[in-house]
Structures are given as structure tokens and as C-alpha cells.
């Protein structure tokens, strides 16, 4: 996985609450292989209905950071939502809250999903509306977001941070715990043998 350390880039505000992953990538596109480029389906129906959709405005073209509203990425577990956003060039997102599965999927794909207090995120979005194309800096090791209005400290799960900053492959990390996994399986066979079979085929 590509590491993420710091990023200074233009940011784009998205003011909609409860943006679900069905809206990020409508279900009918999920049949496509990943090589089809999920960015082509990003916010497909929203964009079609609204030619002035914020991501399509010229002043937001080079945006690499998305600043969203509450509960961004709720709903379906589809990882395609993250692939579509990342495929369109976005490398980080900030919101007051994220769907839990979306949050996990983001970090798994090398994208930090950063949670800041509601009023701070609202202030950043307001700033971006008034000064489109403004840059924001995300410093993951320092756990800070810098923008024209100041410096915001954020909390991040230390595991996610460490994996992302170092670009660690989680499966490799897990396989270092082979002994513990085998030990669990030995115990499972002894204590709950019915969980470890497939007698019906």
C-alpha cells in the first residue's frame, strides 16, 4: 500500500448530510470490474441531475481533499465508493463523522478519513465555498489539519495511522501472528468442534 504522510492540496466542500455509498456509486455500476475505473461512476446520478454539482465546477477541478458533512459514506459496505473517490484524484477526506465501514475501507485503501468537530468542518466548508480552490494541509503523523482558519488537531486510531504512514500490508502483518491463529484454531477444534467442519456438501 502507498503510504500517506502529509498532503497539501486544494479541497472541495460537499454540504450534503448522510451521503450514502449508493449515491457515491449507484448499485447498477457495481457489476463492473475494478479496471472499468469506478471514478467514471462517482456521484453519477447526482451529477446527472445537477450540472452545477460541486465537483464539476471549474474552480474545484484539481481538488484532492474532500470536506464532507455528517455521516459521509453511510450505508452499503461497497468498497467501490472509496475506489471511485480515490480514482478521481481525491487522496483524503474530512467530515464530522463517517459510516464505520466506509471509514475502515478508506484506510485500507491508503486514504485517511479524518474526523473533526462538526462546527470546525462546517467552518472549513464555508471557507471553501467563499474561497474555492483553497489549499488545506493534512499532517497525519502530527494529527493536524491546517487551513486558512487555523490548525485543527484530530484523533486517529493509532493502528490505522501506523499502517498508513508506513504503508503496511495488513495481511503480511497478520501472518506474523500465525502461532496465535493456530493456537486459537486448536482450541476451537477442542472446545467447539462443530464450528470446524463442513460435513454437508
Amino acid at each position: 500500500m502507498e503510504p500517506f504522510v502529509t498532503l497539501t492540496a486544494p479541497a472541495v466542500p460537499l454540504d450534503i448530510v448522510n451521503v450514502d455509498t449508493d449515491r457515491i456509486v449507484p448499485a447498477r455500476f457495481l457489476r463492473q470490474p475494478r479496471s472499468a475505473g469506478y471514478e467514471n461512476f462517482l456521484f453519477h446520478d447526482l451529477r446527472e441531475a445537477d450540472p452545477g454539482f460541486v465537483l464539476d465546477r471549474p474552480e474545484h477541478r484539481g481538488a484532492r481533499i474532500l470536506v464532507a458533512a455528517e455521516n459521509f459514506g453511510c450505508g452499503s459496505s461497497r468498497e467501490a465508493a472509496v475506489w471511485a473517490l480515490a480514482g478521481s484524484g481525491l487522496r483524503a477526506w474530512i467530515a464530522p463523522s463517517f459510516g464505520d465501514i466506509f471509514l475502515e475501507n478508506s484506510f485500507k485503501n491508503g486514504v485517511p478519513a479524518i474526523v473533526l468537530p462538526l462546527e470546525r468542518v462546517a467552518a472549513i466548508r464555508a471557507h471553501l465555498r467563499h474561497a474555492p480552490g483553497s489549499e488545506i494541509t493534512i499532517d497525519l503523523p502530527a494529527q493536524e489539519v491546517l487551513w486558512a482558519g487555523g490548525r485543527e488537531r484530530f484523533e486517529v486510531d493509532p493502528f490505522r495511522k501506523e499502517c498508513l504512514v508506513a504503508g503496511i500490508d495488513e495481511i503480511d502483518l497478520t501472518l506474523r501472528h500465525e502461532a496465535a491463529l493456530s493456537e486459537y484454531e486448536r482450541r476451537q477444534r477442542a472446545e467447539t468442534p462443530w464450528l470446524g467442519h463442513s460435513r454437508i456438501l
Binding site: 448499485a27 446520478d45 458533512a69 468498497e79 501506523e162 456438501l201
Partner: protein, 464 residues
């Protein structure tokens, strides 16, 4: 120390500690479906093998047509269904395919086959995996990268969720069902009221629910933002599991029961958050907007965004009303509908079909309506009771098992601008099809909508 159900299952599966204090959690059982192809692809690319094929179960549900499926003509749908069969065969994963009565929606067949059990960890690349928590399992949805991780390692790096208990007291009134409990809860705590939490549903109202009714509640925990919802296993759970194909049997059954009885939350265990809900005060619910939190009692009105204290929320509500083609202050009852869908992992089990059939019996559907059983076995059971005839005589379509119009990936779509009364779990914009307008409700309420052509208080149609 007194522990919660969630904490007990968690502790029993924590196998190692990693960076930042994260826990490596062992996963006992893994469900896969025809949308899991990305994960198999990732696994293949990395050259890794499936660690525990005996712990994984696969069935096509999202892409599978609900008729004409012995010979799927749509190439993309056929590809997905065939890819799952090939992936399962290639990795020696147990597979329930077309023509096998055990095929169905993953979250229906897990419990139905006894794959889901109290105290286990269970995951699936689908957010409604929370359903399985109804049996006292710690079950949660995961993304494709995590599915690949589980296939390769049978474990996941997780951080503990905060605990949240919802105490549901009182008795449900006639015509009010478990779907109404969960819609009312989400309306109250919001679509992200449970984010970061594992919810335990407790209280007498929950304990008195059937196993299937409990599944409907846990199914929608994710719509309140919680990745998992759990209910303490009890005699209802054990009776439900007895004799199922993958349930323990013989001497193992007694051993299992003894273990399961130790799972419920200890007296005095602390939750990070608690909420009370009075089931007796509930009326049948329906949603008016585009988030599951947009629920209202059937006697209520479409709310007014202008009265929202929070501006962003008000704006989102306004947008939802525009999408739904509704006006603030409009009565919920009487909103004309174009279509009815009875199905999905929320409400496609035999009890759901019985509840709908009780309303439909002797009446006619006034709008196109379909029933999609959750599994081949549910379909057979319903046919044995004659429910299929009740539906078909009323003009309903009676289909084969799958996700169908819950998400429309298989082509069962709600048309642009059409208004659908649906027993599914998501009323998101475009969820059932581009421009589709979804009203979530219970099977009884959806049946009432079908036979009246509008959103109707089911209590006016049946005297229970």
C-alpha cells in the same frame, strides 16, 4: 468484572494485539455472495490461499435473477453468478447455488442453516451482516479488502466498539411489528446515532419477539450507524437452532447450550450509552424521505424542514422532499403508491410472508406487487402453507429467492419517479433504481399498501 454480551464474544476471539493496541479478532464464520468477486480477485493477485474453506459459505443473492434463472440470459448477471460458483469450487468453499433450495440471501440462509450461532464471530462483505447478531453472534459487515483479509487469515484487525444498549419495554400493539420498533429507534437516534457502537437490543419487548422478528431489528442496526446489533441468546434462540443442518447435534448440542447460556450480559455491566423505547407507544411506521431516519408513525405528517433547528439537516430534508415528490405537512396516510416490494434480508422470512398474506387474503393488489422469498427453503415453506396462492390470486408476482428490488442489481428495478412501498431497509436516493422513491415499512403495511394502492394504516384492514 461484569461484562456485556459484546465484550464476552470479543474477549473470546481476541488472539493478538498489534500496532496501536489493535486487536486481531478471530473470525469463526464467513459468508460470501456474488458481489464478493473483488475480494477473490485480490486474493488471487496476491497469490494467497483461503485459510479455512470449511468456515466459509457462499450463495448468489445480489445479482441473481428472480425468474428464468436456470438459464440466465443477461451476460453480466450470469458472469457474477458463475464467477461465485467457480470461486467457491476453486477454493473448496461450501456453495449453495441455483437449483439448491438452500440458496438465498446470505443473511437469511446463515441463521436458516444454523451457520449463525450464539457467541461466534461472523462477517460478510455486506453491511446487513448485523442481522446475524439476533442469535447472539458478533456479526458485522466488511469491505472487499477485509473480505480478502478474512479469506487469507480467518481474522481481522479491529478496535473495540463502544457499547450501546437499547431497552425496549412494553408490548407491541396489534398491527405493529418489529420493523416498526427499529424504524422508530432510527428515527429517534438518527442514521448515525449508533456510529462507532455495537448495539445490544434488550428488554422484555425484545425477549418476547420470535427469532425472525429479532433478525429484522438487528438487520437495521447498520441503518442507525452501528456495524453490529446483538440480542442475548435465550430459549427462543436455542429452539430456533435445534436440528438445523449446521447446528451442533448430539452431545455437542448440550455442550453448546451450556456455553451459550453464559453469554448474556452480566447484571451490573456498564454500557457507554443507553436508550429506552416503549414498544406499547408505537404505531405502524413508514418513511417519508431518503434516509432510514426519516420515519414517522402512520398517523403522522411529512415533517417541515423549516422547523429543523439545524440548517444542514433542514436543507437535506428539503432535498429529500423534492426527491420524494412530497410536501411538508402532508398526511402520510393516503400517499398513493405505484408498486410494492415484499422481500430483502430485512423482511423475507416465513413469518414476514405470513404477516403480509394475512392482509392480502381475499383482496386484490391495486398496483404491481411482488413477493421475493429470502431463500429457496422459505419459498418451499410458504408454498406448503399455500401462501403463494394467496399472493398470486391477489395478483402479486411470486418470485425465486434473492435480494431483488431491495437494490435492483439483478434488474428488478423501481422505475424513475415511481413510488414503492418496500419492506427493505434503505430508502436512499436511487437505491431501488434511478429516481425511485422508496417508502420503508413492515410486510403488513406493505401488503396494506398493495391492496389499497396507497399508504394505509394496516390496522384498519385487519382486526387482530
Amino acid at each position: 468484572m461484569a461484562r456485556t454480551l459484546y465484550e464476552k464474544v470479543w474477549d473470546a476471539h481476541a488472539v493478538a494485539t498489534g500496532p496501536g493496541g489493535r486487536t486481531l479478532l478471530y473470525i469463526d464464520r464467513h459468508m460470501l455472495h456474488d458481489g464478493s468477486f473483488h475480494a477473490f480477485e485480490a486474493l488471487r493477485r496476491s497469490g494467497r490461499k483461503v485459510r479455512r474453506p470449511d468456515a466459509a459459505f457462499a450463495t448468489p443473492d445480489h445479482y441473481i435473477p428472480t425468474r428464468g434463472r436456470e438459464n440466465i440470459t443477461h451476460p453480466e448477471l450470469r458472469d457474477k453468478v458463475e464467477a461465485l460458483a467457480a470461486n467457491a469450487a476453486g477454493t473448496r468453499i461450501t456453495f449453495f447455488g441455483v437449483g439448491d433450495d438452500r440458496q438465498g440471501i446470505v443473511h437469511v440462509i446463515g441463521p436458516e442453516q444454523g451457520i449463525t450461532q450464539p457467541g461466534i464471530t461472523l462477517v460478510c462483505g455486506d453491511s446487513h451482516t448485523s442481522t446475524h447478531g439476533a442469535l447472539g453472534a458478533l456479526a458485522f459487515g466488511i469491505g472487499a479488502s477485509e473480505v480478502a483479509h478474512v479469506l487469507a487469515t480467518q481474522s481481522l484487525w479491529q478496535s473495540k466498539a463502544r457499547t450501546f444498549r437499547v431497552n425496549v419495554t412494553g408490548r407491541l400493539g396489534p398491527g405493529v411489528h418489529s420493523k416498526d420498533i427499529i424504524l422508530a429507534l432510527i428515527q429517534r437516534i438518527g442514521a448515525f446515532g449508533g456510529t462507532g457502537h455495537a448495539i445490544e437490543f434488550a428488554g422484555l419487548a425484545i425477549a418476547s419477539l420470535s427469532m425472525e422478528a429479532r433478525m429484522t431489528i438487528c438487520n437495521m442496526a447498520i441503518e442507525a450507524g452501528a456495524r453490529s446489533g446483538m440480542i442475548a441468546p435465550d430459549d427462543t434462540t436455542f429452539e430456533y437452532l435445534a436440528g438445523r443442518p449446521y447446528s451442533p447435534s448430539g452431545a455437542d448440542w448440550e455442550r453448546a447450550i451450556a456455553r451459550w447460556r453464559a453469554l448474556p450480559t452480566d447484571a451490573g455491566a456498564r454500557f457507554d450509552r443507553e436508550v429506552d423505547l416503549d414498544a406499547a407507544a408505537l404505531e405502524p411506521m413508514a418513511t417519508w424521505g431518503t434516509s432510514p431516519e426519516h420515519g414517522v408513525g402512520i398517523g403522522g405528517l411529512v415533517p417541515d424542514p423549516a422547523r429543523q433547528p439545524d440548517a444542514a439537516r433542514g436543507a437535506s430534508m428539503e432535498k429529500a422532499l423534492r426527491y420524494m415528490g412530497l410536501a411538508a405537512g402532508q398526511a402520510m396516510e393516503g400517499i398513493p403508491i405505484d408498486r410494492v416490494f415484499i422481500g430483502s434480508c430485512t423482511n423475507s422470512r416465513i413469518e414476514d410472508l405470513r404477516a403480509a398474506a394475512a392482509v392480502v387474503r381475499g383482496r386484490k393488489a391495486l398496483v404491481p406487487s411482488m413477493v421475493v422469498p429470502g431463500s429457496g427453503l422459505v419459498k418451499r415453506a410458504a408454498e406448503a402453507e399455500g401462501l403463494d396462492r394467496v399472493f398470486t390470486e391477489a395478483g402479486f408476482d411470486w418470485r425465486e429467492a434473492g435480494c431483488s428490488m431491495c437494490v435492483g442489481m439483478n434488474g428488478d428495478l423501481v422505475g424513475d419517479g415511481e413510488r414503492c412501498a418496500s419492506t427493505s431497509n434503505r430508502n436512499f436516493e436511487g437505491r431501488q433504481g434511478k429516481g425511485a422513491r422508496t417508502h420503508l415499512m413492515s410486510p403488513a403495511m406493505a401488503a396494506a399498501a398493495a391492496v389499497t394502492g396507497k399508504i394505509t394504516d394496516v390496522r384498519k384492514l385487519v382486526r387482530e
